[in-house]
Symmetry: C2
Subunit: 226 residues, 2 copies
């Protein structure tokens, strides 16, 4: 892993809001750890298509800058095109609503990472199994080790893509409403409303006799923490 | 508004998971009402770029199927390219984590809408002002009416794009873990963990004497409701 700073190319250098650009790999990894969904953008003929997808990160993965893994059905329409082009994976966490005294300065608090690169199909069986474990553990840490190994049929039905984390940028906004000098003469309330994701009580399947595992209860509690 | 059903073209017809496709405009509108962030995909030269953005919907807007509004700085790099091509706007709400007895059937509960179309720049001043109000009110219902009208300078700095909601598709997954016949012979816990977004206490700016408006407190309470 050679890349410590983000945005090594103009493609992932934001054209504006450079003050919001966070040149800090640690924060990128924290965002990728917090987020549960990525948006994958591919070009399908003459137009882009953006699809939500699960993902996982291996900071010590074999690709430059570490590896971002995506998986999908081998029957998914986006899969083959994605292997023949550069794609964009964007991961966004919404952290708050920003309510200013003017409509113009209304905004969102957020963290967002943009990763651009050519995906590699993971054909090595050991890496594929590890990537699928990482995707399960990304959602529910420690769970993969409690599950049976995937069957040959399951592995054959699942494609895994690896994207280098080398060409990545991150932007974030935090805090209160921006203020123009004149806005102090305005009246009315201004501030921000923090937003976060929480988990509710796990719902157990009818056919399950086991109690909810400690690891799941711990994750539910962690997601609820402000 | 002529389109009652979604996916009028092959571009927005999911290639698989047709059972998850919800052919129901009401649910599309409910998702677009719940979500606070959209992901805009454009083609930038040889690769796609996906960016998070605020948005609003006018079901009775002037475009076929109603209008989805996005706004951005006139200085944003994506703006001019977006006007010269078809773009994709994807809106996703994450509703839960699905934990099966096999890694293969781990999944997410979610709702996701994909809208593809050629954006129109909103030049009419009345429509632009209305769209900006809708974007503020999307985040905080009723707030736009309490704010001063945008200045000429603010309007000149803000571009508004309109996308027809005609070519849209929606997918969703809900409920518990999928089960293969053989999975009943496996052991271990399986179920799902509902996820939702909540708002914390509003944070008032230092220079504000007014109390937090009732409308903001109501929105905070609504977002917290399971």
């Amino acid at each position: 892993m050679t890349t410590q700073h983000l945005s090594p190319t103009s493609r992932t250098t934001p054209t504006r809001g450079r003050n919001r650009q966070v040149d800090d790999r640690r924060r990128l990894m924290a965002l990728l750890s917090d987020a549960l969904v990525a948006h994958l953008g591919i070009v399908a003929g003459t137009h882009p298509v953006v699809l939500p997808t699960a993902f996982a990160v291996d900071a010590a993965g074999p690709d430059d800058g570490g590896t971002l893994y995506l998986h999908g059905s081998v029957a998914a329409g986006w899969l083959v095109p994605a292997l023949e082009q550069d794609v964009c994976v964007t991961v966004t966490e919404l952290d708050g609503m920003v309510l200013a005294r003017t409509g113009f300065h209304h905004s969102m608090n957020y963290r967002s990472a943009v990763v651009i690169g050519r995906p590699r199909q993971v054909t090595d069986l050991a890496e594929r199994a590890r990537a699928l474990d990482l995707i399960v553990d990304h959602m529910m840490p420690g769970r993969a080790a409690t599950l049976p190994a995937p069957t040959r049929k399951e592995l054959a039905a699942t494609a895994v893509l690896a994207l280098p984390l080398a060409e990545a940028s991150m932007k974030q906004r935090a805090g209160g409403a921006s203020l123009e000098p004149g806005d102090l003469e305005l009246t009315g309330w201004a501030g921000h409303v923090p937003l976060r994701r929480v988990a509710d009580e796990p719902v157990t399947e009818d056919y399950v006799a086991d109690p909810v595992p400690e690891s799941v209860l711990r994750r539910v509690a962690e997601l609820g923490r402000a």
